[in-house]
């Protein structure tokens, strides 16, 4: 409202025009408020541990709604059908699709689709029919709801959103199959629900339904689903193809991803086929090829933006839910609502049981009852359900009743199931380890054994499914990759992995390690107590308990990678994988040009092939430096000190220290290391390769030292006692490197040098 200055026509010096900005302003405020709330939740870790984020968001929404109600304010009526389907839903679905762990997904695709599609259908039809039956009971005054409307309502409340549950699953490390089924189910049940929703809304308008309509409905279902798939694939491939040429427009690379996926969505909407399927398929296809074509930073940007957008969408929906709960007028019908709740649970439980029985024979690892229970229990309803019911067309007479019932079921499942699932899961999954204090070594050895077995299994490959996968991979390598990926070199998967995992972030890990923990003191004490004549320690029961604790919390679980793709609310956490890879990797060759700061090249005059040298290869000439000859001066560019000055200048190397190496003449660093362990600061300079004269090292000493020494000690301690040790070192990469020729940091072909035992 402008200030009342109607009579005068002077220039208003100060005026407010709220109505103009109202809608975007309020939306922004909401999103901001919800984000503050998220910050608040995470301050105290226990809160998010016990209460899923969706609960918290709804609670905030409820509070805001209460406030609004108190001041008699109306919530902005932003949530309309179009807004939801065109703007709010796509980011959420893109997020699910993009972060879908592809390998487990495809390995279990039959199961996932079975539970998601057939399960949702089962639920919708079951609940719909039962409710229709209930409606015939006169006492409940709901006779005017006909079958179509019941089915419509039932399909809406069958959309499952088990996000909150995935968090818990990850912590308790349920088996991978269960995890991926739950994850996939959320995605596809949304798709199915939307299809059913559209179908039934259409049908609800028809006065009479004939059998031919039923058949048409089924046919439409398939057309819609497969059509969505096809569209998604097409757009995915086009997007991948485009990114092949984007080397010169790095800054807008992420834009292509988003535009293409959104286009896929919209075009699918245009033809009335399943847009969710389209966008998911598009994301899945794109991800694989695009992540190879674009720069690391674009990759990161894409991931972050996807997460951000979906976070906004979900926040808005839940918020809205909370507000609407308080501010709209509800139509409350005890009978209908209670029966809804009852049937929803009943049919889900039944559905899971029946479906599992049918599919178990086809699975290599069948689901036992515990799994089935968890599957059933993870049927939380969430954002999509609410949005769908809220945007029901108004000609549905009992819309308010539906809204009320839906809100009830959402609140119930999210709060009660969401909060109780963690204790339940832990109760069911009670580890029956004998807390026998004598079994530290059993724990260690059995974990080793498990890793060994897992490794052997991986070597053998998946005997069942691997035929198709292999065929696809052949097709992929021979044809698709050539078209869709630029500079296509058949690279080893480890390289691809490294690229994906952004090794520069490895430094972050080291940072957190060296800062937070008691590394420094322990290192010092370490140096003192080394030596064979150490007295034997006696271990008290408390010590042993602590050890058990450490072991159970910190030992790497088998096949970490699946559970790292966790929730909707955070980016995939691959720090463990990174840790493992960092430690493991033997020789890595890097491109000369990419290398910044100190590059120390070990060359051994005598036998180069034994040493782990970071041989800097330049796009293909990757042969070892035989004798003498340092590579030509690395054009070492110091990465931006602004980002993490300490990090950038840290040279961390991997040494395979063999006796050969330490005895050979020309090795500089090794000598330094074995000799000068306690040396402070100025290592940077001294390590420099004579030819890398242009590297300027702003080495902030203490940081450098602690981790360097840390590494030094960790790795070089065994150095003396054993002729063999694998310690990891590698050179830092520039964080902002954007060389046009090789956009991805360094890793070309890692060479594996087998650690040859030489006899001392």
């Amino acid at each position: 409202f402008a200030f009342p200055n109607a009579e005068k026509s002077d220039l208003p010096v100060f005026a407010m025009n709220y109505s103009r900005i109202q809608v975007p302003f309020e939306i922004t405020l909401w999103v901001l408020l919800a984000s503050f709330a998220k910050i608040g939740f995470h301050i105290y870790h226990k809160v998010t541990f016990w209460v899923p984020e969706s609960c918290l968001l709804i609670s905030i929404g409820l509070m805001v709604g209460a406030i609004m109600h108190a001041v008699h304010e109306e919530p902005p009526s932003v949530l309309s059908y179009n807004i939801f389907f065109l703007y709010i839903l796509p980011p959420m679905v893109l997020d699910s699709g993009y972060f879908m762990p592809t390998r487990p997904f495809f390995e279990n695709i039959g199961t996932v689709l079975w539970f998601a599609v057939v399960g949702t259908l089962w639920n919708s039809i079951g609940v719909g029919m039962s409710l229709y039956g209930v409606c015939q009971i006169g006492a409940l005054e709901v006779q005017d709801i006909n079958l179509q409307e019941n089915l419509l309502f039932a399909s809406i409340i069958s959309a499952v959103d088990p996000v909150a549950v995935l968090n818990v699953f990850e912590d308790v490390s349920v088996n991978e199959q269960l995890y991926i089924v739950v994850f996939g189910e959320s995605l596809f049940s949304d798709a199915v629900t939307v299809v059913l929703y559209n179908m039934f809304t259409f049908v609800a308008e028809m006065p009479v339904v004939e059998t031919v309509d039923v058949f048409l409905g089924v046919a439409k279902f398939f057309v819609v689903g497969l059509g969505g798939l096809a569209f998604g694939l097409v757009f995915g491939f086009v997007a991948s193809f485009t990114t092949r040429f984007t080397s010169n427009v790095r800054e807008i690379e992420p834009l292509f991803i988003f535009m293409y996926s959104y286009l896929a969505y919209l075009v699918a909407e245009l033809f009335n086929i399943s847009s969710i399927m389209a966008i998911v398929t598009c994301a899945l296809t794109m991800k694989y090829y695009v992540e190879e074509n674009v720069t690391q930073r674009s990759c990161t940007t894409i991931r972050h933006v996807v997460k951000m957008l979906s976070s906004i969408s979900e926040t808005l929906i839940f918020f809205f839910l909370g507000v609407v709960t308080i501010t709209t007028e509800h139509e409350w019908n005890w009978g209908y609502i209670l029966f809804t709740l009852l049937f929803a649970f009943l049919w889900r439980g039944l559905g899971i049981l029946v479906l599992t029985q049918i599919i178990n024979p086809f699975r290599t690892i069948p689901f036992n009852f515990k799994d089935q229970f968890m599957l059933g229990y993870s049927g939380l309803r969430g954002a999509v359900t609410f949005a769908l019911v809220f945007t029901l067309p108004d000609h549905i007479v009992r819309k308010k009743l539906f809204v009320t019932a839906t809100i009830c079921i959402i609140l119930f499942t999210v709060f009660i199931q969401g909060i109780s699932i963690r204790p339940l899961v832990e109760f069911i999954n009670v580890r029956r380890t004998n807390r026998n204090l004598d079994t530290i070594n059993v724990e260690v050895h059995s974990r080793l054994m498990e890793h060994a077995i897992a490794g052997i299994e991986d070597i053998c490959g998946q005997w069942g499914h691997y035929y198709w996968k292999d065929k696809f991979m052949k097709f992929n390598n021979q044809i698709l990759r050539k078209i869709l990926i630029k500079d296509n070199q058949a690279e080893s998967s480890i390289v691809a992995l490294y690229k994906k995992l952004e090794l520069q972030n490895a430094m972050e890990i080291l940072d957190t390690v060296s800062e937070g923990t008691s590394t420094a003191p322990s290192v010092i004490s370490l140096r003192k107590e080394k030596g064979p004549g150490k007295p034997k320690r006696k271990f008290v029961a408390a010590d042993l308990r602590k050890m058990h604790d450490i072991l159970s919390k910190n030992m790497y679980k088998i096949r970490q990678q699946t559970t790292e793709y966790t929730t909707k609310h955070s980016l995939p956490n691959d720090s463990h994988t990174k840790e493992i890879l960092i430690r493991r990797h033997g020789t890595i060759r890097r491109s000369l040009r990419e290398l910044c700061v100190c590059v120390c090249v070990y060359h051994s005059e005598s036998k180069t092939k034994l040493t782990t040298s970071l041989f800097l290869s330049d796009n293909g000439e990757d042969e070892t430096l035989s004798g003498g000859g340092y590579p030509s001066a690395p054009r070492s560019r110091i990465g931006q000190p602004s980002r993490s000055s300490s990090r950038v200048s840290l040279p961390l190397r991997r040494l395979d220290t063999l006796t050969e190496v330490s005895s050979s003449a020309g090795v500089d660093l090794v000598d330094e290391r074995s000799g000068g362990r306690g040396r402070a600061g100025g290592r940077g300079k001294s390590r420099l390769n004579s030819s890398s004269s242009d590297s300027r090292v702003p080495a902030p000493p203490c940081h450098f030292d602690s981790s360097e020494v840390f590494h030094g000690n960790r790795d070089s301690m065994p150095e003396q006692e054993e002729p063999l040790s694998l310690s990891v070192t590698w050179a830092e990469e520039p964080s902002d490197h954007d060389d046009s020729s090789t956009q991805n940091p360094l890793l070309r072909r890692p060479r594996w040098n087998p650690v040859k035992p030489k006899n001392p």
Binding site: I365, G455, E457, R584, W752, P757
Partner: protein, 194 residues
């Protein structure tokens, strides 16, 4: 299956291999396919970097040790026979056949699995797991935030529990005595179901 036979005929000495390892023809064929798919350059031998192509193995904390176990005695290639022989350690056992004591220990017995595991620790092949070797393995299996001290105490305790002759190292005999029964049977089932 026709293709089974044709593939089998490609493998030299396949009957002896089957007898030695106890794999069925179908198993051997599958393993051969797997071997070929790993051996990208079709040399008939696998080198360590070929194992590197297996993504999941790369993320295994002791992946490189497992790979190393295939390349025993200083060789840097492994042919199909050795490949299969090592995998045979993990072939699921047939428990119901009474063992003829005169025959050599079956390839996939508990002892062989334990020997394999022992190899994973004992990189310098001196027949003992020294404290330092144990420490290395521990370090690779634990997250990075575990301090050196904690690792050391765990290693000490591990040795203490198993080390009967007080030489501060675990020999194979001592390793055998560790009650690992559950793990072995569980894991056998997993490999079998594949």
């Amino acid at each position: 299956m026709g293709s089974t036979n044709s593939t089998l005929s490609k493998i030299p000495n396949v009957e002896e291999l089957m007898r030695e390892t106890g794999f069925s023809p179908a198993h051997i064929v599958r393993l051969y396919d797997r071997f070929e798919s790993l051996d990208k350059e079709k040399t008939g031998h696998l080198r360590p970097e070929d194992f590197g192509a297996i993504n999941r193995l790369a993320m295994n904390p002791i992946g490189d040790r497992i790979i190393g176990a295939f390349f025993s005695s200083g060789q840097d290639t492994v042919d199909f026979h050795s490949f299969v022989r090592i995998l045979a350690h993990f072939r699921p056992a047939e428990n119901n056949r009474p063992r003829d004591p005169s025959l050599p220990e079956p390839v996939n017995s508990r002892i062989s699995k334990l020997k394999f595991a022992f190899q994973l620790y004992d990189l310098d092949k001196d027949g003992k797991i020294s404290r330092a070797e144990l420490l290395q393995v521990l370090r690779s299996m634990m997250e990075m935030q575990v301090t050196e001290e904690q690792l050391e105490s765990i290693a000490d305790r591990t040795i203490q529990e198993a080390d009967l002759d007080r030489d501060d190292a675990i020999s194979f005999e001592e390793f055998r005595k560790v009650p690992l029964g559950d793990t072995l049977t569980l894991t056998q089932q997993r490999v079998a179901s594949k």
